[in-house]
């Protein structure tokens, strides 16, 4: 079943568990993301998908278990250290810099990666390489034309793309996308996933998405999360044919 047994593992979790009070939100999660993977994480609302991303990126501390990035344990590291080692994420609800324009925001992220953000004696405008780097990312996501507009004035779809641009500016090895097209009209959500799919092959991707058409189109492997535990996982064809998944997830969505 494993399509990529020969590939090294980019990100792995071992026995990852978390409970909020008496409510378990992650139960013994074991995931292996091979380098270059395009994995989808699906499951009904409240299954713990976003919590899992929060655990992986260090925004929530687990009660038990380990997280390994490129074979190295990162469980004890803070979020920013994980980002610096190549683990980035985007947010389901826009988590942007409303008063900065797209160019400034991405320049800031690149400046952090290149460790020049502590410099208070040089002008931002004098860092040509940082700015070129930032603009290149914006251009790739077709944000080049609107990069001088304040983020809060950007159309919503472009704000979603800026979410991804900020994460890419950290030059991640592994990118976790929390519903990248959330709130975007269905006909536009394809554009956002096209942009995601066009990212480099070396980049390891895990994305949460509710639209099953999008999931089947872009994912090479699907993990189904229910009640904080992995219900099943497999190729899109396997998941589509799985009667259990239909019952807990696909069927439920049609009613919900």
């Amino acid at each position: 079943m494993s399509v990529s047994a020969d590939r090294p593992i980019a990100l792995a979790t071992r026995g990852l568990s978390k409970a909020f009070g008496s409510l378990p939100v992650a139960r013994d999660i074991e995931i292996d993301l091979p380098v270059g993977a395009r994995y989808a994480l699906i499951g009904p609302n409240g299954a713990g998908k976003t919590t899992l991303i929060n655990l992986m990126t260090g925004m929530v501390a687990p009660n038990a278990g380990q997280i390994l990035l490129g074979g190295e344990e990162i469980t004890a590291l803070g979020p920013q250290e994980r980002v610096r080692r190549g683990l980035a994420r985007t947010f389901q609800i826009n988590t942007l810099f409303p008063g900065l324009n797209a160019l400034e925001a991405v320049t800031l992220a690149v400046a952090e990666r290149r460790a020049v953000s502590g410099q208070f004696w040089s002008r931002v405008g004098s860092h040509g390489e940082v700015i070129d780097d930032a603009y290149e990312i914006l251009r790739k996501l077709r944000l080049g034309d609107s990069c001088y507009q304040a983020t809060r004035e950007l159309p919503y779809g472009r704000q979603r793309l800026l979410e991804i641009a900020l994460a890419l500016a950290t030059r991640p090895k592994v990118l976790l996308l929390d519903e990248p097209a959330a709130g975007v009209p269905q006909e536009e959500s394809g554009d956002i996933f096209e942009a995601v799919a066009s990212l480099s092959d070396d980049l390891t991707l895990l994305f949460i998405e509710h639209d099953m058409h999008v999931v089947f189109r872009f994912a090479s492997h699907i993990i189904v999360l229910v009640g904080g535990a992995i219900f099943t996982e497999g190729s899109p064809a396997e998941i589509a044919a799985d009667p259990g998944v239909r019952e807990v997830y696909l069927g439920k969505r049609k009613h919900g």
Binding site: V124, H127, V130, T170
Partner: protein, 329 residues
């Protein structure tokens, strides 16, 4: 490099942001006007310049990084008492005294920054308020050192650069304060246009996103807070040196609140917000207290409520909006 060309490069765009605007030059030329127009008000002008410097220091943390402080006078006071004590105990040379006082305030600020950088919003308001009150009572209690409520007496300043005596008319005082303000302003302007300045704005705009782009916000905040404390200390030292005494008022809650009001009036998060706010506040105080000495805060209250309701981004924010609208026509 033309800034008006249709296809402006991203780098040229960012470079243009730190370019001097003609209005800035006009502003600094206008600071020379008191010498010509109001030679009897140079002492007031000096106090305005000192207050502007203090407001500028708050702008770095509050306006740019979004770190609220209700106890910023603590650092102003530390600077003032440091400068006062250095002079009282025999070293009256102004410039070295100024630098030493700023360094002491910066060190205190650095120590406090480890607490500050861990908290946000309401918690931070309470912590800074508490620290401010603590500093005030410490100064009040240490009568043997600070003179307590009697104030610190017995300062004696030597001439600036060995040449310019502090005179009764405030000529030297204003020149001295204005030069220090201008030099520090140049430094602050540079800082706020730097990658570090951009990171501070990032913290203000979204504290949650910063770690997700690999930023160590706490380290940034510690640095900014230390710098702001040193500048506040510099302002306090200037006041001590130019008036040759230090009163408890310099470390009081009232001063912390006043500087916040000035920044909000002028426009927080704008290079000139604190400066303009200080001018308006100090001139208003001078005028209103002439009308009704007991009740002049009434009018400051009216001014504050009006500005906050009508111009949420302060007076400079309102003006720049009008300017932008006028230009787009």
């Amino acid at each position: 490099m033309t800034s008006k060309s249709a296809a402006i490069t991203p780098q040229a765009y960012l470079q243009a942001q730190s370019r001097w605007h003609p209005l800035e030059i006009a502003f600094w030329l206008a600071t020379l006007l008191p010498f010509l127009l109001f030679p009897n008000y140079l002492s007031l002008a000096s106090q305005i310049a000192i207050t502007a410097l203090f407001a500028l220091s708050l702008d770095i943390i509050l306006g740019y990084a979004g770190i609220v402080s209700l106890g910023h006078a603590a650092f102003f006071g530390v600077g003032a008492y440091s400068a006062g004590l250095i002079s009282k105990y025999g070293w009256g040379e102004p410039l070295t005294g100024l630098v030493a006082a700023a360094a002491i305030a910066g060190i205190v600020g650095y120590a406090v920054s480890f607490i500050i950088s861990r908290f946000r919003h309401f918690t931070l308001i309470m912590i800074t308020l508490g620290l401010g009150l603590l500093a005030f009572e410490a100064a009040n209690r240490a009568h043997w050192l600070t003179g307590g409520s009697d104030g610190l007496q017995g300062m004696s300043m030597w001439p600036v650069l060995g040449l310019f005596r502090f005179d009764l008319y405030g000529y030297t005082a204003y020149t001295y304060s204005l030069v220090v303000l201008f030099v520090v302003f140049l430094g602050a302007r540079r800082l706020l246009n730097s990658p570090f300045g951009l990171a501070l704005r990032g913290i203000r705009e979204n504290w949650v996103r910063m770690p997700a782009i690999g930023a160590d916000s706490r380290a940034h905040i510690r640095k900014a807070f230390t710098i702001a404390a040193a500048i506040a200390g510099l302002a306090g030292a200037l006041l001590a040196q130019t008036t040759e005494n230090v009163s408890l008022e310099s470390i009081s809650f009232q001063r912390s609140a006043d500087v916040l009001v000035m920044l909000v009036l002028g426009g927080a998060g704008r290079l000139y917000g604190g400066l303009v706010g200080a001018v308006i506040f100090m001139v208003a105080r001078d005028q209103f207290s002439g009308i009704a000495p007991q009740y002049w805060y009434f009018w400051i209250g009216v001014l504050l409520v009006t500005v906050v309701m009508v111009l949420p981004n302060g007076i400079l924010g309102g003006l720049s909006q009008i300017y932008a609208r006028w230009r787009s026509k």
